[in-house]
Symmetry: C2
Subunit: 332 residues, 2 copies
């Protein structure tokens, strides 16, 4: 499996090869590949990679696939797409039991490819369902990266922007740099500039001032996991942006494929939040920026309560207002 | 004049010498010295530095002092203490007209020293007036650095913390790293850790999550300029923190000496906001973190409207609630 090493962007565009499940686990863990949908696709392909060099013995292939799925599920805890994609791979392997090792391998490759292709189709559908929100001349703010680097093709949160651009609309995008790992500065700016969209980089703490100046008409963000009531886990800082948007009367929309919903969870309180290492904050830019021994709190995600979300744009349609009933209706 | 080069903290503790007005102008411009009160003291001392090598001819000394004051006033546009301190130096020079060049020089040195000493006394008084807000076991969030590195001795926003600590109270402090220049990570963490205060560094975009977890009972920030109605310009991001604090029912207090008020300004709309270079965002720490050619918006300050401020702690007392009448009464 080949993937863009996103940790090197925007300085270097490098495609790396993953030849083992360990390579894939590592790529997910250190964020060479990131973004909930892309993690799902990478993990599914990781199961394919894990069985490719196993002899065509069915028992050995099934065992390797199950082991790889369990192992890859430990790479990151929050994005539900990861577990969803691995469950599809596990079920595919079990469905082929009795048809031989070679057939299991082929079925796994077909399933991973289908996950990737349906991801691209989902992104296009999200763009179609959300493009009307991006009006001529409007200002949009986005946080982190939920674009084509986070998924297949259009991405999720950026899909409505790409569709609106195709439809000839002009608009401005403010991009939160998104500390600590700067996915906004490094990735969203990179892909929006490549697409020729008018974009301006700001530090996360400048979003409030930009909103107060009346420059933001719409906030678009992605999601890592959405509970049954619409509470949404996304990149740390999203919740703050949502509070600011509410204060300034700006609607915030979440864009995410239906695989991002985890309907077993009643509310966002049940979503596990990954905490990452202090170095991401204290050594963010290749140089120590805090005193040695500084205590750090570094959650990777936060939860935005449903009442702060104007709507959720999925490939199956727009969920608005965001409540349990509308979520059930659109996802059914 | 000697000062700590704060651009090198926390990695290196280096004291530099300023031998000319240009050295001082440069130190203020590139933030070797920063924090509104400290800028005022440095600028006043800069006038002393500017006249020290001028012959004791009164006309020459007065001209050099006036020229230095005008020049140093161009170093940064937002902090009113800069202009306030330089006005004091100008008036001092004019008051000595007729007493000879040597006497003018001595008066300028005495005035700059008085500004420094009264700054230290003001910080202690701010600590006294604000310490009761820092209750046993509470959580405090601060943004940027308004501590002893930004002023003399206690600092302003941190003065109530230092006083509360002296009084034996225990509390926790969350420190926003404060992009783009990381004054929180580099300076506030450095001085709080040195003082033995329990402090935790977070990225600016984590403040909302920390507040939602109920860990913050009080927000303390400094100020660069305060209008007659209480609207307060401070480090970019302060306004966002104020909106978040209001949303979570947490009171935000501004701590600032009375010299920070600019009563000629009716409201915060009239406060000029300095915009700084794109490189502060795109090349934060010796490494490019955004694509080449990325458009950047980088305001150094924002304005927090008075209605989001629970109180203003000055050396003359606590202004609460924050309105024109109370400001007039306490400052009178």
């Amino acid at each position: 499996m080949e993937l863009i090493d996103q940790t090197l962007l925007p300085g270097e565009f490098k495609v790396i090869s993953c030849r083992t499940a360990e390579d894939v686990w590592d790529a997910i863990k250190v964020l060479r590949v990131r973004g909930a949908p892309a993690i799902g696709v990478a993990a599914a392909m990781g199961v394919v990679v894990a069985v490719q060099n196993v002899p065509d013995d069915e028992k050995a292939v099934l065992e390797a696939a199950a082991r790889a799925a369990d192992y890859l599920a430990t790479s990151r805890p929050t994005a539900v797409n990861l577990f969803w994609a691995l469950d599809r791979m596990r079920r595919t392997a079990e469905r082929c039991r009795g048809s031989g090792g070679r057939a299991v391998k082929e079925a796994l490759l077909a399933e991973a490819t289908a996950i990737r292709d349906s991801d691209a189709a989902m992104c296009r559908a999200i763009g179609d369902h959300g493009q009307h929100l991006v009006k001529e001349g409007c200002g949009v703010l986005t946080h982190c990266n939920a674009g084509s680097l986070a998924a297949a093709e259009y991405g999720t949160a950026l899909a409505p922007l790409y569709r609106a651009q195709e439809l000839g609309r002009r608009f401005r995008v403010y991009v939160d740099e998104t500390r600590p790992l700067l996915q906004g500065a490094r990735l969203t700016m990179w892909e929006l500039m490549r697409a020729g969209i008018d974009c301006t980089l700001i530090c996360d703490n400048m979003a409030a001032a930009v909103m107060r100046q009346g420059k933001v008409d719409l906030v678009l963000v992605g999601a890592d996991r959405i509970a049954a009531n619409g509470d949404t886990a996304n990149k740390i800082g999203t919740y703050g942006v949502a509070v600011l948007a509410r204060h300034h009367g700006v609607p915030l929309y979440v864009a995410a494929p239906s695989s991002t919903f985890d309907l077993r969870l009643e509310s966002g309180d049940e979503i596990p939040i990954e905490e990452r290492g202090a170095e991401e904050v204290t050594h963010g830019f290749g140089r120590r920026t805090a005193p040695a021994g500084a205590k750090v709190y570094c959650p990777a995600f936060d939860v935005t309560p449903a009442e702060l979300i104007a709507g959720i744009i999925t490939e199956r349609g727009l969920i608005q207002p965001v409540d349990r009933e509308n979520i059930g209706r659109v996802l059914r």
